[in-house]
Each structure stands twice: as structure tokens, then as C-alpha cells.
């Protein structure tokens, strides 16, 4: 599967796409009421991202903008968003209220997730120390050397393949305010070369005292992730555990249920799974009586069986 729709909100603000150059700017909404989505023209010879951003800065009181969504930039299949990052950093004095930023909100029809070229995104965190939410889509070329950031509460990295170096960089980061961590680990086919050992600093929770929501998902090694989570110290402080979108089978679910109790969770999200009927029941019977909301929607997860009997299972978002 692929990414089909743009973000509909960020920082609990509904997304609003800043109109193109031929539309008027008279009727724009209040700057602080929406998450502004700024995108390059995807239809050929139109405006590039930095030009759209310059227009945005001229049309909107940027001192009141709280959330920005970077959509597509020109030739995202070939080029990282270096110019985007430079433009944002150059304008940082004009965005004192900015609290949320998402980089690369492109759908399949614009650029498949694993074809989006990324780069080192941590200068944005350094440049916006008050940022509370940061998200990025696309793992190709993505780098995330360890950072310290005192305000970040939510970090989302959506990929079809998350480089191990990024996993390690996030694990080694100092993020004392982080409450919500969402990593799409992806598949080795698209550069997701992390191993469970790379997750250890996250699973220990040593540097993540405020973590309440942990998503380690969309993983080809979802079973191994689940098994590691089963004994991870961080779990006891979580309200939401999300192991969805990956290749989770009875093996991983069995390991998860055989580990530490999960009955303190508010929610366990396993949607898009490959569990057998009995295991679905087992998960439900173990957790639902304790008041845990369990998402076991199969959500289109389908096995392909080759003539030779080999079974193929897929993560929810690869490509």
C-alpha cells in the first residue's frame, strides 16, 4: 500500500493548503487557526517551494502561525529538501509561534514514500527550539544525528524503510519532553536496515522519561519488534502501544502476550496484522476485560502464496 491522502491536521489544527499563485489571498483564514500546508506546484512548470513560501510569508502574519506542513518540492524523487530547510531556517525569526512542522506531506500520486529524497533534518530542530511536534516522511537519504531538544513532545518518522542510522540517532537523542514517538521502520527493500538491537535505547526508555505513546510500526520485522517490546522497560510508562501496519504474525503476538502485562495500556494498536483467528481472540480476551482498547482491524493485510507454497506478507506502506 501507499500513502493516499494528505495530512488532515497537525498540532490539532486542521490543515489548510495555501493557494497557488493565481488564487487571491484576500480570504485567507486566521493564521493561528490552521496548519498551513505549503507546496510546490506539482503540475509541471509551476512555482517551486521556496517561491510559494515567500508568497506565504508576504500574505500571512507569520508571527501567529503555529503549524506548518511542507508538501512537495520540485523533483522530490531526485532532490532532497535542502532548499526548503534553508528557507525555513532563514525565516525562523518570523515564526516565533511555530510549534509544529511536518516535512514531506506527499501522497503516492505525487511521490511514493520511499522515493522521497530526504536529508539531515535535525537543523530544523536546532533552529526551532520551541518546536513541540516534528514529522517527516520518506526514508531515502534521511539522516538524524543525535540531538538535544527540550521542547519536542511528538516525533513522527514515516518511511517505507527507516535507515538504522536514523533509529540509532533518535535513540541517542536527548528528548526529555518527548511524549509521542512514531517510527515507521519499513522494509530492507527500501532501505530499512535497522535491527531490533538498534531499538534498545528507545525500549529502555532511559532518555525518554515522558514517553506515553510509542509506535514502532510498519515493520517487516514486526514479530521481532513485538518480542522485544514484550520485555521492554519503557512499556510500563506507556498509555498507547502501536505495533500496527507491519508483518505481525502469531509468533509476534504470542511473544507479546507472553511478556510483561499490558493491561495498564489505554490502547494497543495492531491494525493491519496477519494473526490467525484464535490469536485475535487471545489478544482480545487478554486485554479487553482490563479495559484496553485493542485495534485488530485486518485492514487489507493480505498474504500471497506462490505456487511453491512460499507465503509473502507485506507492510502497510512500502513502495
Amino acid at each position: 500500500m501507499t500513502i493516499g491522502g494528505h495530512l488532515d491536521s497537525l498540532y490539532r489544527l486542521p490543515a489548510y493548503t495555501f493557494p497557488g499563485p493565481d488564487a487571491g489571498t484576500e480570504d485567507l483564514p486566521e493564521p493561528d487557526a490552521f496548519a498551513w500546508r505549503i507546496t510546490a506546484d506539482a503540475y509541471g512548470d509551476g512555482e517551486d517551494w521556496t517561491t510559494a513560501f515567500a508568497r506565504f510569508c508576504a500574505a500571512v502574519d507569520t508571527t501567529r502561525v503555529r503549524a506548518l506542513i511542507v508538501g512537495g518540492w520540485a523533483e522530490a524523487y531526485e532532490m532532497p529538501p535542502s532548499g526548503v530547510i534553508e528557507a525555513l531556517l532563514a525565516a525562523r525569526e518570523r515564526f516565533p509561534a511555530l510549534r509544529a512542522l511536518f516535512l514531506g506531506d506527499m501522497v503516492m500520486e505525487e511521490c511514493e514514500i520511499s522515493w522521497i529524497n530526504q536529508t539531515d533534518v535535525t537543523p530544523l530542530l536546532a533552529g526551532f527550539p520551541a518546536l513541540e511536534e516534528f514529522g517527516v516522511r520518506g526514508g531515502t537519504g534521511l539522516r538524524f544525528p543525535a540531538v538535544s531538544h527540550g521542547a519536542l513532545r511528538r516525533l513522527v518518522v514515516e518511511t517505507g524503510g527507516l535507515p538504522a542510522e536514523v533509529v540509532r540517532g533518535i535513540g541517542a537523542s536527548d528528548l526529555p519532553a518527548l511524549e509521542h514517538l512514531d517510527l515507521w521502520l519499513g522494509t530492507p527493500d527500501y532501505g530499512g536496515d535497522s535491527e531490533v538491537a538498534d531499538l534498545e535505547p528507545i525500549l529502555s526508555g532511559a532518555r525518554l522519561p515522558r514517553l506515553r505513546h510509542l509506535a514502532l510500526r510498519n515493520s517487516e520485522m514486526q514479530d521481532a519488534v513485538a518480542a522485544a517490546v514484550a520485555s521492554a522497560p519503557v512499556v510500563e510508562r506507556l498509555e498507547v502501544l502501536d505495533l500496527s501496519m507491519g508483518v505481525l504474525t502469531d509468533e509476534g503476538a504470542g511473544a507479546l502476550l507472553g511478556g510483561q502485562p499490558l493491561t495498564h495500556l489505554k490502547k494497543l494498536d495492531l491494525h493491519h496484522h496477519y494473526l490467525s483467528g484464535p490469536f485475535v481472540e487471545r489478544v482480545r480476551q487478554t486485554l479487553e476485560p482490563a479495559g484496553v482498547e485493542v485495534d485488530l482491524d485486518r485492514d487489507g493485510a493480505e498474504e500471497d502464496t506462490e505456487d511453491g507454497g512460499r507465503v509473502w506478507r507485506y507492510v502497510a506502506v512500502g513502495e
Binding site: A42, Y43, E75, E110
Partner: protein, 387 residues
């Protein structure tokens, strides 16, 4: 302005239809139903097999002649394409030559189509150029019209994509239909990939399948494109389409006598939205709301389709594939289909004049309301304002 069709029959009670088609096909049956529902006797069915065997057919001067698709009939397909296996992708150039020759053999009657229009509609390169010259928004194409670049194979395609800075394109057999042989090709970062319903078998043959698949090895793409190229290829920039509930979305809009009468939304998890490839029907009301929320009038969206249809003024009905841009503020014409009216059970748009009628009923009604005019066939005008 009401579209000005067709013909006044010699006698008002003697209106009679003929249809060139494959007897027993859904198309012929549904058209016959529509004629009978209008209180007329059913159309004379002239089988494509007869037309092809006898190199033509004759019609009475007052017979109203509908030409319907020769498709979905293995024997007709074999004769037209010269390929025994109906699932094979190749042979569309021969199909085109045989089909247009057969059209020229239809003599007499009052035609609801036009051989010259059909010759353009079944050549995507010519069709693109006609639309482009008329100012209809279409995706950019390096193969448009008679001066378009030839695509002799994979190397030509790669060169065109580079030269025209089109890292993502649709590659379509110039004379294909129903997504047969269509590839959505994307390149970037040293990678290449095609999404298509073409199945490349181990012996290098190409078959149409009902399953969309992906090829990521350049040698596979080269084999496929090299095999398709002799039939003629049309290349267009792949413009990102809007989405509905996370699925790529386009519209099929049927235009009858200049007026957009029927529309469906098609959605897919693939860039190819054809219903037989697992696409589903989307939500037309939601599409309209999305368009209006983007500050665009729905009538302007339908107007794009009507303007596209107006490029084929001697053809009563076409099906326009409209590609809404991702922000719903713009829309592009992806295809104009001569036989794009097979939408069983779908009734007309509110205010279109075809409410309660299917696409076939709308065409019969358009013929019946034709004002009295002598002579053969009058162009179908467009420009009808929508409420």
C-alpha cells in the same frame, strides 16, 4: 443553447435505429433496451463479424446508425488484431487500421458518429493534439500529434523522459483501450518502476491481466516497452491526481449531444483507476463538494468535459476521463473515449436533462428531441450552461 443534434426522420413514426455491434453484448442489449423504452421498435443489429467479412454494410437513408465497440468478442478481435489470443497486448496498430477501414465501409444511414472523429479518438497522439490545440487542459506530452516524437522502444522513452524532464509518465499504446498496455512509469534516484496490468510471461510475451503489477527491473521494462512500441506509443506526464479516502481518483464523464449527462468517480489504490483493474466507484457528491470547497464551480468541471467533447462535433456521445488535480482546483483531460458510455444502471446528473435515463437512454432522447432539419448530420454543439 440546446445541443443541436441530429435528424428529422422521414416520418415521425418511422424512426428506426440500427447498431453495429456484437450481438448479445451488454452494449448492444442496453442500447436496444433504451430504444424500446422510448416506444420504438428495437434496433437492427448489424454484427461486426458481418461488417468485417463483407467489408462494409449498407443502411437505409433514414436509418439512424450507431456504431458500438467491436471489443469483448474473441472472433472480432482476432480478425481486427490478427492475434489469436485475446489476452495478448500486441496488435493494436493492426486493429486500428482494420477498424478505421471497416468504418469507411459503412454506407448510408444517418450516423451518430463520424469516421474521422473515430480515427482521431482511437489515436491518442492525434486526440491529445486536437484537445491541446483547442485549449483543453491536457497533461503535457512529447508524442502529441503528427510532429510528436516517435517511441521506438525503451531507449527512446528514457531519452524523452530525460529531455522533457518528465520523471513520471503514463505510457499508452496509441490505439489501445481499457488500460490495455498502459504503464505508469516513474524514475528517480537511479530507480525505475512501472505499474501496469501487463503481464510479462517467462517467454517474453505480453498479456493483459486483471491484476495490477509492478516491475522494478529495467530489463523487464525494456522488454515490455520494446514489445509495445511497434504498435505506436503515446507518452504523457503523470499528473498527481486528487484522492478520495486515500485512493487515487478520476472521473468518467459521459457527454451526450454536447451536454455532460452522466458521471462516475473512480478510485484506486493504483494510479490506474479502471474499474476492471480493481478500481472502485467513488463518491460523486464528495467530489463535487471537494471541487466547490477548492473554490471551483462544478459546472466548470463538467464544462471541461463538454469542451473536450466539442472537439468531436459529429459524434453524439463520448466518455471523457477527467483527472482532478490533487488540490481539486484544476482538472485535466486524460482520455476521450468513443465507446465510453458503458455504465450500466447509472442515471443522469441532476439538471442534465438525462435524469432517470441511463447513458443509452440519454442518447436516444437526444436523437428524439432533434429539431427538424434537413440533410444528413449536424454538429453537436456545446456550451450549454449548467444551473
Amino acid at each position: 443553447v440546446i445541443a443541436i443534434p441530429v435528424v428529422r426522420p422521414a416520418s415521425s413514426t418511422g424512426l428506426r435505429f440500427a447498431v453495429v455491434g456484437n450481438p448479445g453484448s451488454r452494449r448492444v442489449s442496453l442500447f436496444g433496451d433504451a430504444v424500446r423504452a422510448a416506444g420504438l421498435s428495437g434496433p437492427r443489429v448489424v454484427p461486426w463479424t458481418d461488417v468485417l467479412r463483407e467489408r462494409g454494410a449498407d443502411f437505409a437513408a433514414d436509418e439512424i446508425v450507431r456504431v458500438d465497440s467491436p471489443g469483448e468478442d474473441a472472433e472480432v478481435d482476432r480478425v481486427l488484431r490478427g492475434v489469436a489470443d485475446p489476452t495478448r497486448v500486441e496488435g493494436s496498430a493492426r486493429w486500428y487500421a482494420a477498424f478505421t477501414a471497416a468504418l469507411r465501409g459503412l454506407r448510408g444511414g444517418v450516423r451518430l458518429d463520424d469516421p474521422d472523429d473515430l480515427a482521431v479518438l482511437f489515436d491518442k497522439r492525434r486526440c491529445h493534439a486536437v484537445l491541446d490545440q483547442a485549449g483543453i487542459p491536457v497533461p503535457a506530452s512529447p508524442t502529441s500529434g503528427p510532429d510528436g516524437a516517435p517511441v521506438r522502444g525503451w531507449d527512446d522513452l528514457r531519452a524523452l523522459m530525460r529531455e522533457h524532464r518528465m520523471p513520471r509518465v503514463f505510457v499508452k499504446p496509441a490505439h489501445g483501450s481499457s488500460a490495455s498496455g498502459v504503464l505508469a512509469v516513474e524514475t528517480g534516484g537511479g530507480r525505475v518502476r512501472a505499474t501496469t496490468s501487463v503481464e510479462l510471461t517467462a517467454d517474453g510475451r505480453l498479456h493483459n491481466s486483471l491484476r495490477v503489477r509492478r516491475y522494478e527491473r529495467e530489463q523487464d521494462l525494456a522488454v515490455i516497452v520494446d514489445a509495445l512500441a511497434p504498435d505506436g506509443l503515446h507518452v504523457e506526464r503523470w499528473l498527481p491526481k486528487a484522492s478520495q479516502r486515500g485512493r487515487a481518483t478520476d472521473l468518467r464523464v459521459v457527454v451526450v449531444a454536447g451536454r455532460a449527462t452522466h458521471a462516475v468517480v473512480r478510485t484506486s489504490r493504483w494510479p490506474l483507476t479502471n474499474l476492471h483493474l480493481g478500481g472502485g466507484r467513488g463518491d460523486l457528491d464528495a467530489a463535487r463538494r471537494a471541487v466547490e470547497a477548492a473554490g471551483v464551480r462544478w459546472s466548470d468541471v463538467l464544462g471541461v468535459c463538454e469542451r473536450a467533447a466539442s472537439c468531436f462535433p459529429r459524434t453524439l456521445c463520448v466518455g471523457v476521463d477527467l483527472l482532478p488535480a490533487i488540490d481539486w482546483r484544476r482538472a485535466f483531460v486524460g482520455e476521450v473515449n468513443a465507446f465510453g458510455d458503458l455504465l450500466p444502471g447509472l442515471t443522469g446528473l441532476p439538471g442534465s436533462g438525462a435524469e432517470g435515463l441511463d447513458t443509452y437512454g440519454a442518447q436516444v432522447a437526444a436523437v428524439l428531441r432533434a429539431p427538424a432539419r434537413p440533410g444528413p448530420l449536424h454538429p453537436y454543439r456545446t456550451g450549454t450552461p449548467h444551473a
